[in-house]
């Protein structure tokens, strides 16, 4: 398996062409008790793209993310990441898969008793044979990539919400994963911090070729970073749209999609 590389057609700098599918979701259904959250959701995520899962509150965006990364089992359907079925893989193969994905949790989920630098060093210490000094240098580089070099020695309780999210991305980047999953990266942030985070996601995608799967309902973020998106809907209990977010905004005829992109009450 080769690492993700961003492919571009000659003369098409602004419109990248992405590699083969790295995530394949087939007929996914999520059910909690008797309540079906969504059913028959199928999509593919291509190597190197920023793929956005969007939709209103309660439509199952975060549940879909948990289902994709193997935290919650699907009621029906299957997901494969980098050619490996998430729910039938166990042991060393599963660990190998987990090392190739990174997750940024909604609240950062950093370990409160460790500094930001130590948080980023933890996966390096667990999963690599890098010498101790090298681990620190690599962790410093990851924090530098998200603009947190100055805060490396601080505890999570000593930094702002935006910094926590950035540190969460740095920790998710620790093992240079092929795919990064971000759960609501912009939620609760001011517009400037949020725009900075969007820029960072775009930069990392373009320069490192990392594939991003982003769960969000922040319209500005969706349009700023998304190469492609799917939209979930609570009423329809499933996927109601798929495509380039800007195309959906301008051309979709689905009333819920139009209302979402035009910020209208449904």
């Amino acid at each position: 398996m080769t690492e993700p590389t961003l492919l571009r057609r000659p003369g098409e700098a602004a419109k990248p062409v992405f590699g083969p599918a790295v995530i394949v979701a087939e007929d996914l259904t999520a059910r909690f008790g008797t309540n079906t959250l969504f059913r028959n959701v199928s999509f593919e995520v291509k190597r190197g793209e920023v793929f956005v899962i969007l939709g209103g509150s309660g439509c199952g965006k975060s549940s879909l993310l948990k289902l994709m990364i193997g935290l919650v089992p699907p009621a029906e359907g299957r997901v494969s990441i980098l050619g490996t079925d998430v729910w039938s893989t166990e042991g060393a193969a599963r660990l190998d898969l987990l090392k190739r994905i990174g997750v940024m949790w909604q609240q950062g989920a950093l370990f409160g008793s460790q500094t930001l630098l130590e948080n980023v060093m933890m996966p390096l210490a667990e999963h690599t044979t890098l010498p101790a000094a090298a681990r620190e240098e690599v962790a410093r580089a990851k924090l530098g990539l998200v603009g947190l070099s100055e805060a490396a020695a601080r505890l999570p309780s000593e930094v702002s919400g935006g910094m926590l999210k950035r540190a969460g991305i740095a920790r998710a980047l620790a093992l240079d994963p092929a795919i990064l999953f971000l759960d609501e990266p912009s939620a609760g942030l001011d517009p400037i911090t949020s725009a900075g985070l969007d820029e960072l996601i775009r930069d990392l995608s373009r320069s490192l070729g990392t594939t991003f799967v982003v769960v969000t309902h922040e319209l500005a973020s969706i349009l700023a970073i998304g190469d492609r998106c799917i939209m979930l809907d609570r009423e329809a209990k499933g996927m109601i749209a798929e495509g380039d977010p800007r195309d959906l905004r301008d051309h979709s005829t689905h009333p819920t999609v139009r209302a979402f992109f035009r910020r209208e009450a449904a």
């Binding site: 590389t5 409160g112 090298a134 240098e137 690599v138 580089a141 309780s157 093992l175």
Partner: protein, 366 residues
Amino acid sequence: MAKQAQASTGLEVSGGAALLSGRVDTEAAARLWDPLMAEARKAQGLVLDLSKVEAVDTTGATLVLSAEAAGARIEGASPPVVAVLDRVRAALAAPRPKPATYRFSPVSGIGRRVVNAGHNLLDALGFVGELLVVLLGTVIRPHRLRFRELLRHLDEAGTRAFGLAVLLGSLLGVILAFQSAIPLRRFGAEIFVPNLVGISLLRELGPLMAGVVLAGRTGSAYAAELGTMTVNEEVAALRIMGIDPMALLVLPRVLAGMLVMPVLSLLLTLAGLIGMALIMGMLGFPLTTVTQQLGSTVTVGDMLGGLFKSLFFGLAIAGIGCRAGLGAGRGPRAVGDAATSAVVGGIVAIVLLDGGFAVLYERLGL
């Protein structure tokens, strides 16, 4: 000298040049870190040829840049590799964070602890004052008490702890009976085991062990619950809405603690006496003998004295648990710290109170 790290990603060193080839990812960087850094330090001005590098991730880039910082000169990198190197170079350009410095200063440390202890004492007195005001206020205006909440806490702190109290009590009775029978047998005085166990359980061990159960089970739960509410700013929201957290949160818990303690204490004591009677039966003493012995020594006053002080044990344990929760700090350890201080504080408090009651009963001739 030539080295080959691996077929796919390799490091070949000859003379003053090192050729890095293949994909320099995290795994390759871990393998090549020490040999490359050693070469870079050994041969100042080492030429690091990256022309055969297919791709580099940020960890691989950190390795290359660390070699550069150690004196190597980078050459031949392709534009995609240069792009990643530039990004990581910019990331590493910021100054290193200063490590936290710890200064050992015992005098100021002791002083700080004393001042903190003083503040804590004042806070505790303030809390007790507030609690008394709310308790008295509730006597005057009983509708302030939320009975549904009180019933919930009575259930959680009381009925759900009955099983544990019975189990602990019976085991305690069995152990006490066994342990005291061994030395008393030497003097042919096994008949006095019920006297010893009965007095111990009714006056001291029953209330104390019930207090330990309440502190471990309920005091810590109160601290964790109220601590989580404090950390989530729910308590602040109550205050801003003009709702007194003492009346809404603390009062039902403290009343529940006070009311369940005598019941738990009685239950534990009775279970202990039954356990003791079982052992006495095994030693050949019939139940009537055991009850006669108990009746000759143990009085209703002993039982009432134990139950009376257990009321105060319940008040102290629940109050300390609530105060620990409401005083929880920030951060992920705050709730755990609150629960720990509730259990430790609760157990210390009941032992101190027990000592105080022992002196009081002795003075009163009880």
